[in-house]
Structures are given as structure tokens and as C-alpha cells.
Symmetry: C2
Subunit: 289 residues, 2 copies
């Protein structure tokens, strides 16, 4: 059986035809332009491929509630051309197949659970730290959704005593994304993250913020694995710093063999899938129907 998969990002759409074994058979990448340009290209790519269902992991905010009248509709995204655009409905109408929609980070969590670094557990959290900070959870075979999808990058954490930077988030100023995503690193220190690789102070502060967030996610969600990806996490020196600070912050409160010095390296990990995580997660979404 052939299935369609889309990773719909803010700068590009990755389109793929796969099968129900999770194999990608054909792939194409197109830029994210105005929906009147991008969506017809998407439909044209899939039109004669014989797909029976389509899965999409998308940028947000987007309505991922399957029982909602506006399922698959973009909400007030900073990409103004796409605000209120009914992406799910347009694809369903254009292709005549069922369309399943979830967020990019939720399908990345699914993808890691199916093929990546969380295949041995029932619950995992995937976090991306890049241009923004977002996270998706996959618990016992379901992505986390309720009123809407998670917006975990917008929690507040306590400020580092040496940090006076006011934060970049247009909604919340110094929320986690406002002080720890890539753009805030560049504005605070005057250079891009990869140019700061040797500056210990930068990564100590970054780890202080990310470890606080992880500690809150552990207290609230209790995932069995945390996977950290995105551009900022390519600075691999962050991993040992974050792991140590998470253990310090938890201070032994949560009983688990994972939350020990011996096992923390197997608890907070990098992604097992690389570039195809998003589109493979979207394929898995289509497979699961």
C-alpha cells in the first residue's frame, strides 16, 4: 500500500511517497511560499502516485483535534500568508484521500519511538532547540493533545543570575524560547551559536535554562526518554552539562534507575533519526490509521 507523507516546515515542505512498511520510495523538497503556490505543487506531486492516505507533520499553531470543524487549519502563525489557511481540508479535497495532521514535533517524537532512539520505551519526549523551542510527546501510542497541542517552549524558567538579556519572544519576552532559542543566543552574545562553541559561559547558561525546562517536563509528564534535537543541540558539549544539571535540580526526588549518574546518558539523548525524522514521522502517522 502506498502512503503519502509531508513534513510541512516554515521554510520548506518535504514530500514523500512511502509504503506501509515505513519505507520512503520517492521524495521531493519544495520551498514554503504562499499557500496558493505551495499547495497546488503538493497536490500535483501526489496526484498520480496512488496513495491511499496522507500524514502531515506541520508547523503551528495548527488545529490537530480530529473532531474539530477546523481540523488541519493553521492558526495565528507568524507566517501571515498561512493564518487560518485550511491546509488539511485543501489536501483532502485536492487528493481525495484521508489526511491525518499533527505537529512537527509530535510526529518527530512518534518517529523516534518507531525507528529512532526511543524504540525500547512506551513514552518519550522530543525537543527541538533551534530557531524556536518546541516539544512533542508520544505516550502509549498517542501523541499528546487536548485543548490544543503543546507549546512547551513558552514556559517560564528562572533567570540565570548573570543574564540581563531581555528576551526575544514577541508574546512573553523572556520565556524559555525567548532566552534559550538560537536567535536569543545570537542577540545576547553577538555571534551565532557555532561561533561561540569554545565559550564555556555561553553553554553553562544555556544548559541552566534547558535543564530547568527538562526538570519541569519530567515532573509534569514523566517521559521514559528525552530526545533533544535542533540546531542548537548540535553543540554536543551541551548534553553532559544538561544531564548533570537535571540530576542536581531533581535532587533525587524522582525514583528511577534512569535518573542516576550511571544511566542519565541513556535518558537524555540525541535523535536516532537525522534529516528524515519529520517526514518518516508523517509516514508513520499515515501508517497508523
Amino acid at each position: 500500500m502506498k502512503l503519502g507523507a509531508i513534513e510541512a516546515g516554515g521554510t520548506k515542505f518535504v514530500l514523500a511517497v512511502g509504503n506501509d512498511q515505513g519505507e520512503i520510495l520517492e521524495k521531493e523538497v519544495i520551498p514554503t511560499e504562499h499557500p496558493d503556490i505551495t499547495v497546488p505543487k503538493v497536490i500535483s506531486f501526489f496526484k498520480d502516485k496512488g496513495i491511499e492516505r496522507l500524514g502531515l507533520g506541520g508547523f503551528g499553531p495548527i488545529d490537530i483535534n480530529e473532531t474539530s470543524k477546523t481540523y488541519g487549519q493553521l492558526q495565528k502563525t507568524p507566517k501571515t500568508d498561512w493564518v487560518d489557511y485550511p491546509l488539511g481540508a485543501a489536501l483532502k479535497e485536492g487528493l481525495g484521500v484521508p489526511v491525518k495532521i499533527d505537529t512537527d514535533v509530535n510526529v518527530a517524537a512518534m518517529s523516534e519511538a518507531k525507528w529512532g532512539n526511543a524504540t525500547d520505551v512506551d513514552t518519550c519526549l522530543y525537543i527541538t532547540v533551534g530557531t524556536g523551542i518546541g516539544a512533542g510527546a508520544y505516550f502509549h501510542g498517542q501523541t499528546l493533545k487536548g485543548l490544543s497541542h503543546s507549546e512547551m517552549g513558552h514556559i517560564k524558567v528562572r533567570r540565570h543570575p548573570d543574564d540581563t538579556y531581555e528576551g526575544t519572544c514577541p508574546y512573553h519576552g523572556d520565556c524559555l524560547e525567548g532566552i534559550a532559542a538560537g536567535p536569543s543566543l545570537e542577540k545576547r552574545w553577538g555571534k551565532k551559536g557555532h561561533e561561540l562553541a569554545e565559550d564555556d559561559q555561553v553553554w553553562e547558561m544555556e544548559a541552566f535554562y534547558l535543564a530547568q525546562a527538562l526538570t519541569s517536563y519530567i515532573y509534569i509528564l514523566s517521559p521514559e526518554r528525552i530526545i533533544m534535537g535542533g540546531g542548537v543541540m548540535k553543540q554536543k558539549q551541551l548534553f553532559p552539562l544538561i544531564r548533570r544539571k537535571v540530576l542536581e535540580m531533581l535532587n533525587g526526588y524522582v525514583s528511577s534507575p534512569y535518573l542516576t549518574e550511571q544511566e542519565i546518558d541513556n535518558y537524555i539523548v540525541f535523535p536516532g533519526l537525522t534529516d528524515e525524522a519529520g517526514v518518516k514521522g508523517a509516514l508513520y502517522l499515515a501508517m497508523k490509521e
Copy 2:
């Protein structure tokens, strides 16, 4: 069909026999003493009642992972007599029936979803603010569990600028529970909560802390309803303060009709069930098998 239900609290055990329609037929309350005293009393109460299953909502930390070898075993609770006590196994052996175990706050969330103030939604969060702060989530028919159960009261929130109190939590000092549970109110202000009812400063600060926590829970979990119970929440003046501050903190970021001035009163609510919430939740746990 007859079912057993136990609300196992730090000071008392509520024991009930109910039926598969959710009706309580018989109830008894016994004090929480040493397990060698309390558990035989529990077994003796249920022994000849003809129950086919038993549900238990318990104080924690407790192992609630059904696939674990130590399912139903207490962990390092401050109640030292109970540390590592295999409560689930002892009841299963003593009564010869299947025993299902979850936390007190998780079964309270289930109970509110089944019979209380969250019957019209698929996802809800129940928070108790009393001697401690704990929360349970019930999402799409499952309570939230992973590595362990949630410990939502132990997240850190930013400090109020006028608050110099150091916090009561033995593990984390000024985590949420350390600065916003009942004992911290009494230590900070020198009086019990109900004696401070007229002091606006007390409740403004309390609402500042609880609203920050709720905002994080919304970003991370996205529940469709938040129910707040426990001794501190009997100060009803907290509800409008918390609701207003949550809207201010979210600052319009999460799109939902609930998160508006018109509808927030139906989003952050008091419990629909009173004293029987815990034991009815335990009964529902037994019903669901």
C-alpha cells in the same frame, strides 16, 4: 458485580464496596497506621464482601507501572513505615482479586471526568493545593504515567518580588510546593490560611505562584479543563485572581475559546465531587478493567 475501592491517604484509608454502576454500597474509614496494622484491617473489611476487583488511589511516591515487578509498591515516602511496602501485592494476595493502583490525584482526575466537573471533555487536570501540591491528568481515557507518575507540585516558578520566604520543601526549598502549599503560607505569614482570608496581599502572591504553574501545565499538557481542589482552594477568592493572571501570562498565545475572559470561569473550576472524589475514582479504576 461488586467491586472494592480504596482511597489510601497519609492520615486515613477510605474503604468502600461499590458496584459496576459506580454506586457506593458500603463505606468505612480507618486511620493510616503501620502497614502491619492497617493492611490486615483492610483485608478483613473486604474479605467476605464478594468483590471481583479492587481499585486503589494512593499517596505516593508509588510504582503505578502495571508491567513493573514492583507495581503497587510504595517508594521513598516521608511516611517511613511505608517505604518500599508492597501494598498492591499484599492486597492481591490477601484478597485473591486483581488490584489496580494509581495515585490519589490521578484517580481524582478520573473521578471528575466520569462524574464531576469534566464530564464534557476528553482531557482534564486535577490539582490539589493543601498540605502539599499534587496534580493528576486524565487524557483520552488514560491517566498520565511514564517513567513514574507526575510530581507537578515540585516544578520551580519565578519568585514574587515581595517574597523573601525560603520555602519548605526538603528536596527543593522554594519549588512550587515549597512556597505555595498550606504549610508555607502559615510559615510565611505566621497564621493559617483561613485566618488570612481578608489579607489581599496573601492571595495575590498565592495566585501569582499558582497561575504560573497552571500556565506551564497548559503549555505542556494542554488540558481541556483544570479542576482545583484541596484545603487552600477553599479560599474561593483565589479563583478569580488565578483566572485573571493565567490569561495575562498566556497573553493570547494559545488559541482557544476557553482561554478568554468570557469562558475562563468554565476552564479553571472547583471540583464537582466533594469528599467521595478519591474513593469514587478508585471505584472507577476497578470498573474500567
